[in-house]
């Protein structure tokens, strides 16, 4: 699993709004006294901030009285947590077995080529990010691709470009 050393890429603290920091602190407060609540906290905080860079991890660590190394350890262990920002439109390609057998890998290759992205990355303009999911459990619809809230079923490689056109150039998050 690829992740950069924290020293090199640090998101500026003012990347997030005061409102976001307030919400983050609220979440920490809510779970403060619950043992083992680190994961639910990180889940909710990522929902607010969009991703978990070092600055956010430090806030959570100090709020829950945990060492930063433990927060970092948990963040980097679970694939749902990311230290890289996600795009306005998140493309998730399911690579579960049923989807694999029905050609999901070719769909992924096609998208990687079209957007010049590797899974886990997002485009320069932050419009699109590409992720691989292991199994969404919608095997009846294989191969499956989820873009934001839309589940696309039985995705054929030859139709991918047309499907993605719906999201335009990605700069408008409500498109599609």
């Amino acid at each position: 699993m690829d992740h950069e050393c924290l020293c090199e890429k640090q998101a500026a603290v003012d990347e997030f709004t005061p409102e976001q920091w307030r919400l983050i602190d609220e979440v920490i407060e809510k779970f403060k006294d619950k043992p083992g609540a680190l994961i639910p906290v990180l889940e909710e905080v990522q929902g607010i901030a969009g991703y978990l860079p070092e600055s956010v991890q430090r806030r959570v660590a100090s709020g829950l009285s945990l060492p930063l190394s433990q927060v970092y350890g948990v963040t980097t262990f679970y694939s749902f947590f990311t230290m890289k920002p996600r795009g306005r439109h998140q493309i998730r390609v399911c690579l579960g077995t049923a989807c694999h057998v029905r050609g999901a890998k070719r769909n992924l290759d096609h998208l990687m080529e079209a957007f010049k992205l590797k899974p886990g990355e997002c485009t320069e303009d932050r419009n699109f990010s590409l992720d691989v999911v292991r199994c969404l459990g919608a095997c009846g619809l294989a191969p499956v691709m989820v873009v934001d809230e839309d589940t696309h079923k039985q995705v054929k490689e030859a139709k991918l470009d047309q499907i993605m056109k719906v999201y335009g150039d990605g700069s408008n998050p409500s498109e599609g």
């Binding site: 699993m1 043992p35 083992g36 609540a37 680190l38 994961i39 639910p40 990180l42 889940e43 433990q70 350890g73 948990v74 262990f77 679970y78 694939s79 749902f80 947590f81 690579l95 579960g96 077995t97 049923a98 989807c99 694999h100 057998v101 029905r102 050609g103 290759d109 990687m112 080529e113 999911v133 292991r134 199994c135 969404l136 459990g137 919608a138 095997c139 009846g140 619809l141 294989a142 499956v144 589940t151 079923k153 054929k156 490689e157 030859a158 139709k159 470009d161 047309q162």
Partner: protein, 1047 residues
């Protein structure tokens, strides 16, 4: 809330659900699981509500439920009208919903075209007596009829967000019984009697696990539910949680009673947001009703449950990792002992069970463990829910009694493999499991039986694979998954999976080495023995299992750089070319047609195939089966395009080639294999003599394939082009009769045997020696030789392959009044090409399937009637097809003055006696991979080696053998290998469509059936230039992306 309150709610709900009472006359249920929603079920619901508003009817109830398991037909809607049978509609969308509402609900007219069946998914009503306007009853659909609902007993019948619906179906009665009427020990006893084994994959007896935990010391104990269904391809738990969340809660309450726990957690993966939502809602509702929390149902017992969401780590499905995750740590397993039952979550005694296990519990308590134990096998009791996916028609969620065979699930419930493809293997148990091939389809779903076959029961994911799946790629895929999900704590898994993955990636890239397979086996065993947890210990299973059953695929990737499924794209330019036995450059010649350069296209054809006109008419075109276009709409009509080229190109004739070498080669048989070998040897400068038994060259192409498929002029031209290079052809010469084999050995340096398979197999039934009974090959040859062939008024052809079809259509043209093909299996099992079968039917050939001949009835030594027996399909045989067995007492007879045996052919090897030193096995000549026999100077190829196969296989054999003979000669003399003369450079244009529009294959023009059955004119007329160019444009140029492939 007391039990009496539960009873009142149940009674009230039963009344409410009944139609024709309380002012409700009809009910429409839109089934909405994740897949239903993804398929548009919400839009269907919106349309329904809109119609409801417009109609102003208040006596129609609209509700929802979880999915009913038939994923491939989503969205599904059940319509019930008082006094009438329910009807389930399939693939409903907004317009259809409105039609159904207006037609069925407002006017009482069932919309038959959109109906799946009558009745409900969980069928508790007896089969009605009426025929139901042609709509099958649910008990007549194998998908539902062969299932048995225990865990899924509420499927389709309750709204998962209504606790009253659940109580209405008897919900929480079991919890009441366990808490108020039973002791902890009695609960454990009941579960032990049931024989329930953990459904998460481990199969550990649940009652015993609970007992261990119950006897552990401690005040605080935990009940955990593992809902981290991480196996890719498994969604059983998701469906249960989305459709019937209370069943899981109730099971946990009962478990809590058994071990005396007061807190439970459900660890549900975050990828299941709907399941998490419904579980949380269910818990809230249960708390409101006092079914969770303090003093449940007045029993004095406290128990509460919390849902804990995962964060995307497969390893957290492992019990100790799961507990670590709840404790807020990295999900890394720890060694056992101590086992969770003694020291688990927060070091307290903990019971961890799977969703399906808990959902099985309430009914076990209510109906008794003995009832559960009546279902299933000796060691595997009860039912199991499977997620049947992959290459199967009825993708869905099925619950069957343990012991049901894999074949029954895949072929009866699942209705087999779609698209006319062949079943290859089924994967059980996800990345921890193994694959089971066609030979073992009779394996019952039983823990021990499946383990013996090399897989594991697992959580229930069952992925069906066909011949488009590469088993090496599947092994790589699973290892990639395990390597990615490995927590990293122990070296065997962290490093071992990476090393195994690297080896597999190399193999898939074409960089496999000798010894790789043995290395994989070695590593696998080491990792299994030393990894810390189940993930590592089972990660090597898919590799061991694929090596066990598909070792030849690994070998072919390594030694031949060949992927028979045409999946490992680093090994080939395009799947069509890779699949063609001679590797014809299909993308190039199709591109040239598209550019209008037909003459150049012809040159490309001749570079690899001396018989393009023949192949363009009769080849089995496996290339088309792998054409990627076929995954969009239909494959490119490669064969028709090839024929188009040969029909319209300038076909320059070559002259004699020089003889530059002194070795002389003899070839026995002037069929496609022999002639191809002759050509290749002439190109390399050898003197070649071909010996042919009959008076003309051509082999099966002339004597077997009828002229209406392959006109004689086309065949003659291609044969002549080969002979023109300077091949000496000696006809009327049968080796072994007119010329002893020893003479060949004496007069020639090397020999290539390609005499084909021209002896029909006998039927082995009484009456076979009567007049009018003949083998298919003999029949066709007699006609093609110009002999007078009498056919009776009624002709019976036994068999289902191309010979049977050719024979039947020829008999028709020779004047038979009625021609019938009798085949012992089902139509879909017939080896003949589908379009041939269709063409025969169009011409009036009658097909009768599931019948087999018993004897030929004769009079005065002539055949008059054929006695047949009907067949029924029994268990699966090694070919993965159901074995036909005669139905005793079902014999019947039909008129037949001519009976033709077309069941198969074998080679006539009389001319090779033992002392020739050429080993024979069965009726086939044994050869090594270079087509050399056990005699050092004799090679052999074509049907006499393989049995009946395709023309292109024979051509390939001729090419390979010629090349091998030449290489052997040169090597023995210390000469350098032959270098083919440089070919003219032909630029291939690269043009791909901007947008891919779905469009079926361009249909071939044909003579109408009524005209063509009168004579032997060619049936297929060929494409026009416009048709050919339009078809060529459908090619997606898979080869054009080769540079960009990110393998």
């Amino acid at each position: 809330m007391t039990v009496n309150d539960l009873n009142s709610i149940q009674k009230r709900m039963e009344k409410e659900k009944g139609l024709g009472q309380n002012g409700i006359n009809a009910r429409v249920t839109v089934h909405m699981g994740t897949c239903g929603l993804a398929s548009g079920a919400q839009k269907v619901m919106d349309a329904l509500l809109d119609q409801m508003r417009k109609s102003g009817r208040s006596d129609i109830s609209v509700t929802t439920s979880g999915c009913i398991g038939l994923c491939s037909q989503e969205p599904l809607v059940t319509v019930e009208v008082a006094g009438k049978e329910p009807v389930i509609y399939r693939q409903v969308d907004d317009p259809k919903m409105r039609e159904i509402f207006k037609g069925h609900l407002l006017h009482g007219e069932v919309q038959s075209e959109d109906a799946l069946c009558r009745g409900k998914a969980v069928n508790e009503d007896p089969m009605p007596s009426d025929s139901g306007n042609g709509i099958p009853h649910v008990s007549q659909l194998p998908f539902f009829a062969l299932q048995q609902s225990w865990v899924l007993r509420n499927r389709g019948l309750i709204d998962p967000e209504s606790i009253d619906d659940y109580v209405g179906r008897g919900g929480y009665q079991a919890a009441g019984k366990a808490l108020l009427e039973m002791s902890a020990q009695e609960v454990i006893s009941e579960v032990k009697v049931s024989g329930l084994r953990g459904r998460g994959g481990g199969g550990f007896p649940t009652g015993i696990k609970w007992e261990f935990c119950a006897t552990s010391k401690g005040e605080v104990k935990y009940v955990l539910c593992n809902a981290d269904e991480g196996d890719p391809g498994a969604f059983m738990d998701r469906s249960v949680m989305e459709a019937d969340p209370h069943a899981v809660l109730e099971g946990m309450i009962i478990a809590a009673k058994a071990i005396n726990s007061h807190q439970g957690y459900i660890y549900c993966r975050a990828e299941y947001p709907l399941a998490v939502k419904r579980l949380n809602l269910a818990i809230e509702q249960a708390r409101e009703y006092g079914l969770l929390g303090k003093d449940i149902l007045g029993s004095g017992f406290d128990f509460d449950i919390e849902v804990y969401q995962g964060a995307g780590a497969f390893v957290c499905g492992e019990e100790t990792a799961l507990m670590g995750s709840i404790e807020g740590r990295r999900g890394m397993p720890r060694p056992r002992p101590p086992f969770p039952a003694v020291s688990g979550l927060w070091k307290k005694p903990t019971v961890l069970n799977n969703v399906e296990t808990y959902a099985s519990i309430p009914q076990i308590i209510l109906q008794g463990g003995e009832d559960y134990a009546k279902i299933g096998t000796e060691s595997s009791k009860g039912t199991k829910v499977f997620a049947l996916t992959g290459k199967v028609k009825n993708i869905g969620l099925v619950e069957v009694p343990m012991g049901t065979s894999l074949g029954q699930i895949i072929f009866d419930i699942g209705d087999g493999v779609p698209g006319g493809k062949k079943f290859k293997a089924v994967q059980l148990g996800g990345p921890s499991g193994g694959c089971i091939p066609a030979e073992h389809l009779n394996t019952p779903t039983d823990y021990e039986a499946i383990t013996k076959a090399g897989a594991i029961m697992g959580s229930g994911g069952m992925i069906v694979m066909d011949d488009d799946t590469c088993m090496v790629d599947m092994a790589r895929y699973f290892m990639d998954f395990c390597q990615d999900e490995s927590c990293g704590k122990c070296s065997p898994c962290r490093i071992g999976t990476k090393r195994m993955l690297e080896i597999l990636q190399r193999i898939c890239k074409g960089e496999g080495k000798e010894g790789d397979i043995e290395l994989l086996e070695d590593l696998a065993q080491t990792i299994k023995d030393s990894a810390l947890c189940g993930l590592g210990q089972t990660a090597p299973n898919p590799i061991l299992s694929t090596i066990r059953y598909f070792r030849h695929e690994y070998e072919s990737h390594i030694s031949d750089k060949h992927c028979s499924a045409a999946v490992c794209s680093a090994l080939f330019k395009s799947p069509c070319q890779h699949t063609c036995p001679v590797g014809m450059d299909i993308p190039s010649y199709v591109a040239l047609i598209r550019a209008g350069r037909i003459d150049d296209a012809y040159k490309i054809l001749k570079r690899t195939n001396p018989f393009p006109s023949v192949c363009g008419r009769v080849c089995g075109h496996t290339c088309q089966m792998k054409c990627r276009r076929g995954q969009l709409d239909e494959p490119v009509a490669i064969m028709h395009l090839k024929r188009f080229i040969t029909d319209h190109a300038k076909r320059p004739r070559g002259g004699v080639l020089p003889t530059t070498r002194k070795e002389k080669i003899a070839i026995v048989g002037a069929g496609p294999s022999g002639l191809t070998a002759a050509l290749e040897l002439r190109r390399r400068g050898y003197a070649v003599t071909v010996f042919e038994e009959l008076h003309e060259a051509g082999g099966m192409l002339r004597w077997g394939i009828p002229a209406y498929r392959l006109p004689r002029e086309q065949l003659d031209q291609e044969i002549q082009e080969i002979l023109d290079t300077g091949v000496e052809l000696r006809t009327h010469t049968r080796v072994g009769k007119d010329l002893p084999f020893e003479d060949l050995e004496r007069d020639f340096d090397f020999i290539y045997l390609a005499a084909g398979a021209h002896k029909s197999l006998p039927l082995n039934i009484p009456g076979e020696d009567a007049e009018g009974v003949i083998g298919a090959v003999e029949f066709l040859r007699a006609y093609n030789l110009g002999k007078e062939v009498k056919v009776g008024k009624h002709v019976a052809v036994i068999g289902g392959g191309n010979s049977a079809i050719d024979t039947a259509r020829t008999a028709l043209r020779l004047g038979a009044k009625k021609v019938t093909i009798y085949y012992r299996r089902e139509r879909k099992d017939m080896p003949a090409q589908e379009w041939e079968i269709r063409a025969a039917e169009e011409e009036g050939v009658r097909m009768m399937v599931l019948v087999a001949p018993v004897r030929i009835i004769t009079q005065y030594g002539k055949a008059t009637r054929l006695e047949l027996t009907q067949m029924r399909l029994d268990q699966f045989d090694e070919s993965g097809r159901k074995q036909p067995k005669p139905i005793l007492g079902s014999e019947f007879t039909e008129k037949a003055e001519t009976v033709i045996s077309a069941i198969s052919q074998k080679a006539d090897l009389d001319f090779l006696s033992k002392r020739d030193g050429i080993e024979i096995a069965g009726s086939r000549v044994k050869v090594d991979k270079y087509f050399r026999t056990t005699h050092p100077e004799v090679w052999a190829g074509g049907d006499m080696v393989t049995g009946p196969a395709m023309v292109i296989d024979a051509i390939r054999a001729g090419q390979e053998a010629a090349s091998a003979i030449d290489a052997t000669i040169r090597e023995a003399k210390g000469e350098r290998p032959w270098v083919a003369p440089e070919e003219e450079r032909i630029d291939i244009p690269v043009e791909v469509e901007e947008e891919t529009v779905e469009q079926p294959q361009t249909s071939m023009l044909e003579v109408s059936p009524s005209l063509r059955r009168k004579d032997f004119r060619e049936v297929e007329l060929g494409y026009t230039l416009e048709m050919a160019m339009a078809e060529a444009r459908r090619c997606m140029r898979c080869d054009a992306n080769v540079e960009n492939r990110s393998h």
